[in-house]
């Protein structure tokens, strides 16, 4: 940082006279206790189950990655499921048409007389 002005240097020197801020061990213990409490919370309940399942399916990946893979597979499956029955229906209508062609025509007597 460029601080050529005299004021800047003076403020630097002045603030250097302030004592170092102590970091009590009790504070470190409090902070780590928070960490442990949160880790424990993460390992229980639905969230814990989800993260364990994620770790089993895709180790080291965040939850969204397997969720995205599952979502994509589901979407592809659904799309195929919607498209496939259309082909069946088409073949079914072809079959009924052929059956209709096979049957002899019936005439009403005296229809055109």
């Amino acid at each position: 940082m460029e601080r050529n002005d005299a004021d800047g240097h003076w403020v630097d020197r002045t603030l250097r006279r302030l004592p170092t801020t102590p970091v009590p061990q009790v504070l470190e213990a409090r902070i780590l206790k928070d960490f442990d409490r949160l880790s424990e919370l993460r390992n229980t309940g639905l969230r814990g189950w989800l993260s364990r399942a994620t770790a089993a399916v895709w180790p080291g990946a965040p939850v969204w990655r397997p969720a995205m893979a599952f979502g994509a597979a589901l979407a592809i499956g659904l799309a195929l499921g919607v498209l496939m029955p259309l082909q069946d229906e088409a073949s079914a209508s072809e079959q009924s048409a052929s059956i209709m062609l096979d049957t002899p025509p019936t005439f009403e007597i005296g229809e055109n007389s």
Binding site: D7, G8, R17, T21, E28, L38
Partner: protein, 180 residues
């Protein structure tokens, strides 16, 4: 952009206690110093820093390295926790807020140092919070203007303006120290 904290943050997010301890060892002293200078009270600074770490533990698993440098984010969180506490204060009583400084070698010297420190702390505490934040980040924590501006969420020009006003105000309040 290489961020030396990314690996530790990821590991802490996955529940690695050793990584959490390493992050704490790396950042806690400077965070405490920042909070102490912003709040003028050791007890309040400890609470603010604990809150900042709590936020870190909550967000570590979802940390996105591409967005910002981790350290900048962490110091911004600390600064915001300090602002929250400053705003919750009724009418600031600076004399009550000032803590006793660290012990010094001799009694006379200790008194002298304590007086001087208290005086500087009082002058610093009397600055408006944004000016104080700018002065503490740039002159006490020795951060660059760009990084300090990012921590404060302002432009570099705005930071420079805050710094100039902060320095001027400190100089006026501690004018007698300039001759020493």
């Amino acid at each position: 952009m290489f961020d030396p904290d990314t690996d530790l943050v990821k590991r802490a997010g996955a529940g690695d206690r050793a990584a959490a301890q390493a992050l704490m060892a790396r950042h806690l002293p400077k965070m405490m110093s920042l909070a102490r200078r912003m709040l003028g009270s050791q007890a309040e600074a400890e609470d603010a820093v604990q809150d900042a770490f709590l936020k870190l533990w909550t967000h570590a698993a979802r940390w996105n390295p591409g967005k910002a440098k981790f350290e900048t984010w962490l110091y911004r969180v600390t600064m915001n926790k300090c602002y929250d506490r400053l705003r919750k204060r009724p009418a600031a009583n600076l004399e009550e807020a000032a803590d006793v400084p660290d012990p010094a070698p001799s009694a006379d010297r200790a008194l002298e140092t304590a007086d001087l420190s208290a005086e500087i702390e009082e002058a610093l505490a009397s600055l408006p919070e944004r000016q104080r934040a700018a002065v503490v980040l740039c002159h006490h924590q020795e951060r660059g203007n760009i990084e300090a501006a990012e921590i404060l969420g302002i432009s570099v020009e705005a930071l420079e303006s805050l710094l100039a006003r902060g320095r001027r105000a400190l100089r006026a309040k501690l004018a007698h120290l300039r001759d020493e």
